[in-house]
């Protein structure tokens, strides 16, 4: 295996990916929006041109080797016709508050916004409300990072959710990004913007899933059913003063997928952000979760569950950047790793001088199901404020013979015993998924594939 990839090759690779961005169609999008999008693209394009796909020599990518990505040449994903069947992905709780994007393209036919009340906006970017979006889209810090910059430089559309001041939305909003893996490798770059104005409250489910291509493949190559695809997603969430955003992020990409996702959150004074991130799919996945505190007294709750097997690699890099006093942060990151899979977790919490009286806690727990399974976990607390309470812990465990035996001695067979214990490990996080039907689905997935 050659890991030496010349920088030139990487640069070329990136600009080729950039070339796959959809063109901005004035007819469909409208001249004003096109001009605005072009402006945003133009700001990011030079950044992309300066950068390269990271290698394991980059500190932030030490354990996540993207060389297999470089072997694939991706073409732009296309909208499908007919549309795929998404019935298995529909959440009853959000049956009338769902935006669906297929291969990155908004699919109004599959979406349903009948349950979105007056004054709240949920729709795609082409709906033309640019003035109020201008200050938010592609405005969060961290946009210089290579995959975020690539996404922004390719910006074509976005799922937008806007909750006005003091409005508390009862129905959850489901943002569903479906990929229909096909015969050729494709790339799509979904984008979300969520703005919760001061005093508002909303629950958002952001989901990445694979759907069988509506047209059967004409031929199968070498036993491999679907080609690889790349999802490079960026989500920006603005949580206004005293507002509350509950966010579930489900990554259930297909087996052959590469998934890179950025979630950037700005938290104003006294706001509350709760995230439950579940990563199950993709061959290689990376989630960058970045919280920027913009006022005092914020509350940040990050829960995550990664369950991988086979040759999967799942990487989460999170940063909680505090900069004001009285913030609290609670993070629990759990990984279940089977076979030869590899989980990576890097959790930064930055507590500079101004962030006095911060109360932060981080816990990383990993369950390794096989001797070849691997985890690299690294807490990174950077604290310069002196009057703070910060704690972190990391555990790596295996299923204990004695625990399995105890269950067997009560009549459970070894597989059921293992599954019960795996499920028990996951429960803490699964229970915090804010939507009942989703909770059930995820718990079934966790329970159903016994990995050895």
């Amino acid at each position: 295996m050659t890991t030496q990839v010349s920088p030139k090759r990487e640069v070329g690779y990136l600009s080729e990916l950039l070339q796959q961005r959809p063109s901005l169609d004035v007819q469909a999008i409208g001249a004003e929006t096109v001009a605005w999008l072009q402006e945003i693209r133009d700001r990011s394009t030079p950044i992309v041109r300066e950068l390269a796909i990271p290698t394991t020599r980059d500190e932030e990518w030490r354990f996540t080797d993207l060389s297999s990505l470089l072997k694939v040449n991706f073409a732009a994903a296309k909208p499908t016709s007919p549309l795929p069947d998404i019935s298995s992905l529909v959440l009853p709780e959000a049956a009338a508050s769902r935006l669906v994007f297929v291969n990155g393209f908004y699919a109004p036919e599959l979406s349903s916004v009948a349950g979105i009340p007056e004054g709240v906006f949920a729709g795609n970017l082409w709906a033309n409300e640019i003035p109020r979006w201008r200050d938010y889209l592609a405005k969060l810090p961290g946009g210089q990072e290579v995959f975020s910059a690539l996404n922004t430089a390719s910006l074509t559309d976005a799922a937008v959710v806007w909750i006005p001041k003091n409005r508390s939305l009862e129905v959850p909003i489901h943002l569903l990004f479906v990929s229909t893996a096909g015969e050729l490798p494709t790339v799509s770059q979904p984008r979300c913007l969520v703005v919760a104005e001061s005093g508002s409250a909303v629950t958002v489910i952001e989901e990445y899933a694979v759907c069988p291509h509506p047209q059967p493949l004409s031929h199968r190559r070498g036993g491999q059913e679907y080609a690889a695809y790349l999802t490079n997603a960026v989500t920006e969430i603005w949580v206004g003063e005293n507002a509350q955003v509950t966010h579930a992020r489900m990554q259930r990409e297909g087996e052959e997928a590469f998934h890179v996702g950025k979630t950037a959150i700005a938290q104003a004074r006294h706001s509350r952000y709760t995230c439950c991130a579940v990563s199950l799919g993709a061959k290689v996945s990376r989630h960058n979760l970045e919280i920027f505190q913009t006022g005092e007294g914020t509350e940040t709750i990050l829960n995550a569950l990664t369950k991988i097997a086979g040759e999967q690699l799942a990487d989460t890099h999170s940063t909680i950047a505090l900069n004001h006093p009285y913030g609290t942060a609670r993070q629990v990151h759990k990984c279940i790793v089977g076979d030869r899979a590899h989980a990576v977790f890097n959790g930064k919490i930055l507590v500079p001088k101004p962030a006095q009286l911060t109360d932060a806690g981080q816990l990383s727990r990993t369950l390794l199901l096989s001797p070849k399974a691997r985890v690299d976990t690294k807490p990174q607390l950077e604290i310069t404020a002196d009057n703070v309470k910060c704690a972190h812990g990391a555990t790596v465990s295996q299923l204990e013979t004695d625990e399995i035996f105890y269950l067997q001695s009560r009549g459970l067979d070894a597989d059921s015993a293992r599954n019960l214990l795996i499920n028990a490990f996951a429960t803490e996080i699964v229970d915090r998924i804010p939507i009942a039907s989703l909770r059930q689905t995820i718990s079934q997935i966790v329970r159903s594939n016994p990995i050895s």
Partner: protein, 262 residues
């Protein structure tokens, strides 16, 4: 309750077993008939828990010789769960904590796997609830324990009572109680003993491992065995337990060494 001619539940002959190459059981022999209660006593480290775990099928112990027949079946050939489903129950000396698994779910899964094995219909959550309320009374446990994770944060006594609750639900053919009385106050001891006595009947058998004669005031054994160095060195009636309480084990161990020396 000893009756001639009643069915042999458990027959152990010359059983030897080791862990990581170290022999622990060195020729255990024992026979228990239906309707009988046997007690095993013996010093720390003599192999009592090892014996109970070998019977239950713990994978860490390797059986190197001898045989164990349970109701006519070769127990040693069965997986731990098959043994459980066929009616072998071990109340652990140190019951494990299983965070994230509710006690109620655990009990129902265990119960239904036994039912299924018996060719009976599995009970749904509703019917099981009724059964469990009745059994909770036996061990005087609050139903609040059902919604908690298995043994997590339970006190020592609560863990032991939870073991007896499991036993009461599973209604085993052979119940092995490994020091279920250790660390219990007198009230808890009575509750545990009461649970055992309610279960005991002419069709099943009990093997009670204990250090204390006190328990045997409440659970009257038919036979008392003394284990030392991996085997039974002497057996007797319940009076033997009283004698051990008064004199300790040394006189027996000395006699044993003297015998070996001869």
């Amino acid at each position: 309750m000893m009756t001639e001619g009643s069915e042999v539940i458990l027959s152990v002959r010359d059983l030897t077993a080791e862990v990581d190459g170290t022999p622990i059981l060195k020729g255990m022999s024992l026979e228990i008939k239906a309707g009988e209660i046997h007690a095993i006593m013996g010093p720390n480290g003599s192999g009592k828990s090892t014996f109970s775990k070998v019977l239950a099928g713990h994978p860490a112990y390797e059986v190197t010789g001898g045989e164990v027949i349970f109701q006519g079946q070769n127990l040693l050939e069965m997986e731990p769960e098959e043994r459980a489903r066929s009616g072998v129950f071990l109340a652990f000396q140190y019951p494990l904590e299983i965070p994230g698994v509710s006690n109620l779910d655990f009990l129902r899964v265990a119960y239904n796997s036994r039912r299924k094995h018996q060719g009976l219909e599995e009970l749904d959550a509703f019917d099981f609830d009724e059964l469990i309320q009745e059994k909770l009374d036996v061990v005087k446990m609050d139903s609040a324990f059902l919604s908690r994770s298995v043994n997590e944060g339970f006190s020592g006594g609560e863990k032991k009572r939870n073991e007896i609750l499991q036993m009461a639900i599973l209604e085993p053919k052979l119940a092995i109680l490994d020091e279920t009385d250790s660390g219990l106050d007198i009230d808890a001891l009575k509750i545990v003993a009461n649970g055992v006595n309610q279960l005991a009947n002419p069709e099943n058998a009990m093997l009670v491992i204990t250090h204390y004669q006190r328990l045997l005031n409440y659970i009257i054994p038919d036979r008392v065995h003394v284990m030392a160095n991996g085997r039974i060195i002497t057996s007797g009636t319940k009076e033997l337990a009283l004698e051990l309480e008064a004199r300790g084990y040394d006189w027996l161990l000395e006699a044993e060494t003297a015998e070996v020396a001869v």
